[in-house]
Structures are given as C-alpha cells and as structure tokens.
C-alpha cells in the first residue's frame, strides 16, 4: 500500500490499523527508553567498578606481599631496601620522604594560596580577577613532568647557589615544584570558600567600624575556615600522590631524615622506580609496589573523604 510521498508511519498505519499501531509504537518506544536508561546507568556505574577494581588490585597485591613480609616489619621497619641485599622492607623511610615533600610543598603553597584567595575574593577588581583566574587555570594545567624539569634545571641550581651543601637531588627542590603545582588549587578553592561567605557578614563588620583588613582577617577568613581547611587537605593529598617531580628531582635514596637538602625517596617515586626496571612479575620486589600503593591510596583517600565531608557540611550551612 505504498502511497507516493508517504513515510513509514503512514504505511504502517495503513497495514495495521490505528489502535494496534499506537500500542506497538508505544511499546517500542518504552523499550528504547529503557534500553537507553540502562546504557546510561552502566556508564555511571563504571565509576563504582573502577573503585572496586582499584581496591581489589591493590589489596590482593598487598596481601600477597604480606605473606612474605610481616605487617609489623613493613609498617615499623626503619630501613627500606627491597632491591639490595640484605633486603629490608620497612616503609618508614618512604613515608618520611613523602612527609618531607608534603611539609615543603605546604609551606610553599598554603600561605601563598590563602593570600591569593583573600586577594581574589576581597580585594581584586573584576578586571584583575579576569586576568588572574585564567593565569591560575593555565598554571594548574601544566603537566607534572614539566614541573619535574623545572625543579631539576631551575630550582635545584638556584638552591645550590644559595646553599652549596645541597645534594643534586634533594627534597627541597621537589617540594617547591610540588608547591607551585598545588598552588592554583589552594588559591581557587580558598577564593570559592570566601566568596561563599554571605555579604551580610562583611557589612556587619563594616558597620561596627572595622577596616577592610579586619573584615577580611577577622570575619571572612574565620567564617570560611572550613572551606579553607578542606582546600588545604585536598592540596596536601595531591602533594602526597604526586610522582613525576619527586622522581626527577628528589632522588632515589630512601632515608629517615628530616633534612630537606638531602636526597630522599617518596612512596610514589619508589613505585615509578620499580616500574622502570625489569622486576619479574610475582617476585617480592614486584609485590612491594602494591603494598606501597595500597598505603598511598589509603592515605590520600582518608584526606579526600575528610575534605569532602567538611565541604558538604559547609554547603548545607550556607544554603
């Protein structure tokens, strides 16, 4: 019954009659809707599967490592030498290395980031903001390996010119680079936190005669303290997980030291070191990266969860 110029719908209508056509069409439509919804759900659920996979991969590797090395030796041993005889699997030197980087980058980035945040939210004109914000975004988008290059070819020589006793590879240089890397994140999250403080708070401050500095430091910063703390936590967690700048600039010497001018090794740098060599799969050396990776994952996850919890509580307060 092909009528010239008709489409599939009218042709179908002509063969089946209106009632059946509507029923079958709505059924097909419902089926299609359900199919698409399931597809979208699967995409969203992939994120849960990813988390499960990460946990399974790290946990199974770490557990099989713990069959060879006791948990006590791993967590409290003071010497890390899984690749050299006599072997030793105490993770404290690696933790100490990561800790040095965290402290150094926090000293570099947290005060600076907080002041930039205060400037952006309390002092900057719209025009200044529209220049500074994109500059920070660009800084945030620079790959970590570039920061590693920068640390090795610029920061380290500058440090050694100032303090000649500095090792070629040292924690200070890497932590300055990591600090610059996390700075944009601290600045823009602090800015967000302070901009979320209601205008009325500031006006209350001015109405009792406070000057701008007193409003910013005495009213806005305390009101935004939760958000500021959350941004610090997120930034520190990123510093712990950073791997390229520390591999390139901080060295490969696991060491229990608090001297930032010495060569050290972080947890992440150790994992990179093993992956660069040809460690046989299934050996204890190979399994160490999962034990260290699990520890790294646990530490960063704890910080992230805490920080998100703080942020969510704040969101509810100002809504």
């Amino acid at each position: 019954m092909a009528i010239p110029g008709s489409n599939g719908v009218t042709a179908e209508l002509a063969t089946t009659g209106p009632a059946e056509f509507l029923v079958s069409r709505s059924r097909a439509r419902r089926w299609k809707e359900q199919f698409i919804e399931n597809l979208l759900f699967l995409s969203a659920f992939l994120s849960v599967a990813t988390t499960v996979a990460i946990i399974v991969v790290l946990a199974s590797g770490a557990l099989s490592f713990l069959e060879d090395v006791s948990l006590l030796e791993f967590l409290f041993g003071r010497r890390w030498a899984p690749l050299l005889e006599p072997r030793s699997f105490g993770v404290l030197p690696l933790l100490c290395g990561s800790f040095l980087i965290v402290v150094g980058s926090a000293v570099t980035a947290l005060p600076t980031g907080l002041f930039i945040g205060i400037f952006l939210s309390e002092y900057a004109s719209e025009r200044a903001r529209s220049l500074i914000k994109p500059a920070l975004e660009i800084l945030a988008g620079i790959p970590t390996v570039v920061y590693g290059y920068f640390a090795l070819t610029f920061v380290t020589p500058s440090l050694r010119a100032l303090l000649p006793s500095t090792d070629i590879f040292n924690a200070a240089s890497a932590s300055i680079a990591v600090g610059i890397m996390i700075l944009p994140m601290v600045a823009s999250l602090c800015d967000d936190a302070m901009r979320a403080v209601p205008r009325s708070y500031r006006e209350a401050g001015y109405s009792v005669g406070a000057v701008k500095f007193e409003v910013a430091a005495g009213v806005v910063v305390p009101a935004a303290l939760g958000g500021i703390a959350a941004s610090f936590l997120l930034a520190v967690s990123r510093a712990v997980g950073e791997s390229m700048a520390v591999t390139l600039a901080a060295g490969a010497t696991p060491k229990l030291t608090l001297n930032p001018l010495e060569s050290i090794q972080t947890m992440t740098a150790y994992i990179v070191q093993v992956s660069l060599g040809d460690t046989p799969v299934g050996s204890v050396e190979y399994k160490t990266i999962f034990a260290v990776g699990a520890l790294l994952f646990g530490i960063t996850l704890a910080m992230n969860v805490l920080s998100h919890r703080v942020l969510r509580r704040l969101e509810r307060r100002y809504k």
């Binding site: 988390t51 996979a53 002041f115 988008g141 000057v211 500095f213 791997s243």
Partner: protein
Amino acid sequence: MNRTILASSSDLRRRRLADRAFGALCVGFTLLGLLALPLLLVQATKEGLPWLDLQFLTSFPSRFPANAGINSALWGTVWLGGLTASIAIPIGIAAALYLEEYPRGGRLADLIEINIANLAGVPSIVYGMLGLVIFVRALALQRSLIAGALTLSLLILPVIIVASREAIRAVPRSLREAAYALGATRWQVVRDHVLPAAAPGIMTGVILAMSRALGETAPLVMIGALTFVAFTPAGPLDEFTALPVQIFNWVSRPQPQFHDLAAAAIVVLLAIILLMNAAAILVRNRAQRRRKW
C-alpha cells in the same frame, strides 16, 4: 574623654596602616605566585627553542642528542588523544546524563556520587597500577596504545563527569518542562533539548580533561610506555611512547644536552596544551555571550 578620642584616632591610624600593609601583602603573594608561570615558560623556551626545528619534529629518539627527535612521541600522543577521547567522552557524558536527568535517589545514586568525588582524588600513579594489572596483564593488551588509552580514560572520567554535570545542571528546568508538556519522552528531552543547551559547557570541560590526559606521565610509565620506540604506531595494538614519557626519559638522563631536548619537547607539549586551554576559554566565553537564560 578627650584622651580616649585621641587614643582611638592614633589607634585608627595604626589600624589603617595595618590595613594597607595587609593589602600589599595580598598583592605581593599574588604576584609571587603568578611569577611561577612566566618563569616556567621562559626557562623551557630559552633552553628548548634552539633545538626546535623540523628535524626535531621528524626524527626518532636517538642516543645522540643531535639526531634525536620526537616523531614517535608526537604520533603516540596524537593516537593516545584520539583513542582516549573516543572512549572517555561518550561514557563520561552518558554517566553525567544519568546522574542529572534520571534521578532515582536512593543509596545507589548517593554511592555513585561520593565515589566519583573520591575517584577524582586518586593519585594518577594508582591508575597506572590498575592499568598495568587489568589492561596490560589480565586482558593481555601488552604495552599497547589501547591499554594506555583505557588507563587514561579511567583517569579523566571523573573530571569529564563532574564538568558535564555542572553544565547539565545549569540548563533551566523550564526548558525540560516545555518539552515534557508536548509529550516528549525522557530521552527525547535529553537528546533534543538538554544536550544541545549544555553542549558548550560540556565541551569546555571535555577539552580541559583531554588536555590533562595528554600531559599525564606517571600512568603511562607504569604500564611500560618508556620503551625506546623508533617507529610511529600504525594501530591501537602497537607499542608506543608519548610526549610526556619522552620528556621524562630525557630529563632523567644526566647529560645536559638531553635536558635541552626535553625543554624543546616541553615547548611542543605546552603549545598543544595551551592551545586546548585557549579553545576551552573561547568556547566558554562565546557560550556565555550567547546564553539565552
């Protein structure tokens, strides 16, 4: 009485001084922080630019700095970018649509939401370990482009999902309700109205996520992309190297000439990434001007 007024006026002078000092401190720290950007760019261009010529772009890696180039690394990055984009973008947008447009509430949606926020904070090297065990070993994809692209896709999915959700959430409710009122199904509303309206915002987020993927080094090093590769990949199952991996390799060598090569490769990588950032900003600004709501 007189005395207290005098005291408070000198007090006020002190407070005004503190006020000005604090303002100057904020400006100073901002300038100090922003100084890092030109310092970084100047350092890389100063060292790298003299090496950057056609020969550098078209040669393979070499033991001799004068002959070395980034041909295989550049093509590896192009392949990796294309594969990662075609895996991560559709899945990321689909996940964002599900979370925004198909509200089921309940614990599963909450779980997915918290999960994505936490995934965004997982160190990239952990994704590398995941890729190594699942894609390289368990799925036996070896050190191939597709193994790298799958790893990078998992890494940037949370970024794409978060950005897309924000863009989708900004589409006004009235637009959806108008379409529903005319009898459109949920998918028709999403496909014909929500997606087009959210497209510029989604695109901005996607471009930024892709620029992040192209600069990632640690996960690729983990899955073993650091092999000496003297050919351009011809298909997704080929071995590969990529620009950031090549840079890492050159920086980690002791000879200063290799550091200069790394600087030249950094100039190329940064040019790509800055162009993508500029594109993202352009899309965002244009969309803001044209927005009807």
